[in-house]
């Protein structure tokens, strides 16, 4: 093992992670290890000063409950950092292109598994260091205020160590998933594809559920009194190091400290062993069952909906892309991922206006985001294979129809299901339920047009380890425009909900406001449709090769 190899490799892996997030490969000074270090320092100082100054402003007797909580927070720091590292690792692995990772040049270089695992874990830890610097900044604010800096220092060391352990766990997950995915896919065929898609959705949903700050806080609170009961769980050991030290049991604290280090090292050993064994993720050979004479597509029900043979062929291909590509399945999980934190934030609102507002937010966000994401990636997800479409006798209109229809159709599933379920759950009256459903469906169409416009204008056809399919600018602008359109169309209802007495005094009933909102959304459909269609035509005519 050469330390110089680890240092060099870690900096290369870090640079590759930093640069693949940049627009069109542009590099800025902030997208360097030094830039990241500056950002982390600023995050740390900002969080520290924020908490310290707030506590400074609160009288000591009022901040006593926070004092009790601060020890718990510091004891939980290592678990929080480990959890975030594992979450990011899972998200990264799901978004990673298998084709890319199997052909990475690193796989063929004279680098040992130990060097790779250490370098990869270090680079991942440094990449997400802002999580640690943020929580350490916050907890330092508490520690300085309550005079527990030495406890904070111990928690900080353990958290930094667990951050790297998180990297080792990430390596273990990567190797296991690559191996499991290969074997599973080889055996399973079509059913494996569906199972894998469902599994990814479940993993994402669970990650979202588990790492929701609201829920995490409640869990930690309920776990705290039983901490000692869970002494046999390794991830709890660093917390016990802190708690035992606070209680004055230095010997036990030392025992848990040594156990923590042994646990971390064993994660490293397992990570290295798995990397050695499954060095390169093998390109998976997935065989799909088909009748002897083969299975060929017909235009089918899409034809009955008015789509031509080429249009329905593109739509079917894109649907397969969504289901079969590991990195694409995450987009199908969107409604669930978006809804979980929103549902968890909702803690029983009693006012009817607030209930309507919450129902609308849940419904519009869940369905609208799905439409926006599915449409914004529609062109970019073609990647370098887009030559097949550009060299084919397809008109821009045909491509546009196919690329817009699938997001609209798919997002209409949550677009209808969500408002119906939410209306039942919240016990909305039939007029409100009708309004919610109609507007959600209109938002799906609007979001699809908006996404299609920015997705074709700012599409990213480059093949990267973790493709985004659309440039950051496009994504940001799409969110902004969609937000503005959503507010514009919803203005009459928002006006009614929050200025009800005034609205009623001028004769504006809920029905009128609902009709007005629906009308505005319908009117907005035309310009957004035109924008999307012209952008797609332009993209189609200005192709300059990839």
């Amino acid at each position: 093992m050469k330390p110089s190899n680890i240092r060099l490799l870690a900096s290369i892996l870090l640079l590759s992670q930093l640069r693949l997030r940049s627009d069109k490969g542009k590099t800025s000074k902030l997208r360097t290890p030094k830039g990241l270090a500056i950002i982390n320092t600023l995050v740390f100082l900002g969080c520290f000063l924020f908490v310290y100054l707030i506590l400074f402003a609160i009288p000591m007797e009022d901040s006593l409950p926070v004092r009790l909580l601060s020890t718990q927070i510091m004891s939980f720091l290592p678990i929080i950092t480990l959890s975030f590292m594992i979450l990011y690792s899972i998200l990264f692995i799901i978004g990673e292109s298998a084709q890319f990772s199997s052909s990475e040049i690193i796989n063929y270089m004279p680098i040992t598994a130990t060097e790779f695992v250490l370098a990869s874990s270090l680079s991942t830890a440094f990449m997400y260091l802002y999580i640690l610097t943020a929580v350490l900044g916050i907890s330092l604010g508490l520690a300085v205020h309550f005079g527990a800096v030495e406890i904070w220092a111990l928690a900080a060391i353990l958290s930094a160590f667990f951050m790297i352990v998180g990297g080792f766990v990430g390596e273990i997950i990567r190797a296991t998933i690559n191996r499991a995915s290969s074997s599973f896919s080889k055996r399973g065929g079509r059913s494996a594809i569906i199972t894998r898609a469902i599994l990814i959705v479940v993993i994402l949903a669970l990650s979202q559920l588990f790492f929701n700050p609201n829920l995490m806080f409640r869990l930690l609170q309920s776990f705290a009194p039983q901490m000692y009961v869970l002494w046999f769980v390794p991830v709890i050991w660093p917390s016990l190091v802190v708690l035992e030290l606070v209680a004055g049991n230095v010997m036990w604290s030392l025992i848990y400290f040594i156990s923590t280090v042994v646990f971390g090292l064993s994660m490293m050993v397992i990570g290295i062993a798995l990397r050695k064994r499954y060095w390169v993720p093998l390109p998976v050979t997935i065989r799909l069952s088909a009748p002897k004479e083969g299975k060929y597509s017909r235009v089918g029900w899409l034809g009955k909906l008015g789509f031509t043979v080429p249009e329905s062929a593109i739509m079917r291909k894109d649907m397969k892309s969504l289901l079969r590509r590991k990195e694409m399945v995450r987009f199908l999980a969107l409604p669930i991922i978006i809804l979980i934190p929103l549902f968890l934030t909702y803690t029983g609102i009693e006012e009817i206006e607030a209930t309507y507002f919450m129902a609308s937010i849940l419904s519009f966000t869940g369905a609208g985001m799905t439409a926006l994401f599915l449409s914004i990636i529609a062109i970019g997800q073609e990647g370098p294979a887009i030559w097949s479409l550009y060299s084919a006798p397809l008109s821009a209109i045909e491509l546009f129809k196919a690329k817009i229809a699938l997001p609209v159709m798919l997002s209409l599933i949550p677009g209808i299901a969500l408002p119906v379920v939410i209306s039942i759950l919240y016990g909305l009256p039939s007029l409100a339920a009708f309004g919610l459903t109609s507007i959600t469906m209109l938002i799906c169409a609007l979001a699809s047009f908006t996404g299609s416009y920015y997705g074709s204008k700012y599409c990213d056809l480059e093949e990267k380890p973790r493709s985004t399919y659309v440039r950051g600018t496009g994504m940001l602008l799409a969110f902004l425009l969609m937000g503005a359109l959503g507010l514009l169309g919803g203005a009459p209802i928002i006006f009614y909900l929050f200025m009800k007495p005034f609205a009623l005094s001028i004769g504006l009933t809920s029905t009128y406001c609902l009709i007005a909102s629906i009308a505005v959304y319908i009117v907005l459909l035309l310009p957004t449709f035109r924008l999307a269609s012209s952008s797609m035509k332009q993209r189609f005519s200005e192709f300059t090769g990839t």
Partner: protein, 255 residues
């Protein structure tokens, strides 16, 4: 014989770089036409312009009297195109990919079934046609791409380095296929670095260097023009492109 392709004063600039420099030549119907040139000489750019994928900066291209820029759909219906190292949809099986291509080109259902079965057989893909392309070797991908280009029975076949990654048997199949297509009246344009293949199967050859046409004609014409009647095409090529002095490079590499 009528011209399948006519190129006149064609120029393509990418920023300050001139990729194609005032090219003019024509290709008669039914010919197998070889585009030769060192790496970066503009062959791929020229082929992409023929399909209408890239717009010329100036000059004109006509494919069966149609302009690929003005009437791209009509032109693409007549063309089969295989890019250099074609990227396919990895999440589809070979059969699904060919099915998709056939649908996009409007091949009728029965003809599609028949042709896909035929190509799978001919290109030795039978038995692996229902595996996802992600597990295919480069050669297998190349075969799928070539089958896709032939799916709609094009009048003009444009192939960029079609023999890349093919095993000797598949390469022989492609060479025989090109000859057969030519006898059926289909025009074939292909680029290659394998000069023996160009010598063996091309009716005419154009040598492009730094975007400009150095020479164009049949192999005999080229040898005459270079003043090397008894030489191989490789020697003519190296002389015309000024890249014949390779000894110094080899020595430098071995130092």
């Amino acid at each position: 014989m009528a011209d399948a392709v006519k190129i006149a004063a064609l120029v393509k600039d990418f920023g300050n770089t001139r990729a194609i420099d005032n090219l003019s030549f024509s290709i008669a119907e039914g010919q197998v036409f070889g585009l030769l040139g060192p790496n970066g000489s503009g062959k791929s750019t020229l082929m992409k312009m023929m399909t209408g994928i890239i717009k010329p900066t100036s000059g004109s291209i006509s494919i069966f009297n149609d302009d690929p820029q003005k009437n791209p759909i009509a032109v693409r219906r007549t063309i089969g195109y295989v890019p250099e190292t074609p990227r396919l949809y990895d999440f589809l099986t070979a059969r699904e990919y060919l099915d998709f291509i056939a649908d996009v080109y409007g091949v009728p259902f029965d003809a599609k079934k028949e042709r896909i079965a035929h190509f799978l057989e001919a290109f030795d893909l039978k038995g692996r046609e229902d595996e996802m392309i992600s597990g295919y070797s480069q050669g297998m991908r190349q075969k799928v791409a070539i089958a896709g280009a032939l799916m709609h029975k094009p009048k003009l076949l444009i192939m960029d380095e079609p023999l890349n990654g093919l095993d000797p048997r598949s390469a022989k199949i492609v060479k025989d296929l090109l000859n057969k297509l030519a006898t059926d009246g289909i025009t074939v344009i292909f680029s290659t670095h394998v000069l023996e293949i160009a010598q063996a199967i091309c009716n005419r050859v154009a040598i492009i260097y730094k975007g400009a046409l150095l020479s164009e004609g049949n192999i005999g014409d080229l040898k005459q023009m270079a003043g090397m009647p008894g030489s191989s095409l490789e020697e003519v090529f190296l002389k015309l492109t000024g890249t014949d002095d390779v000894r110094a490079v080899v020595e430098e590499l071995l130092r």
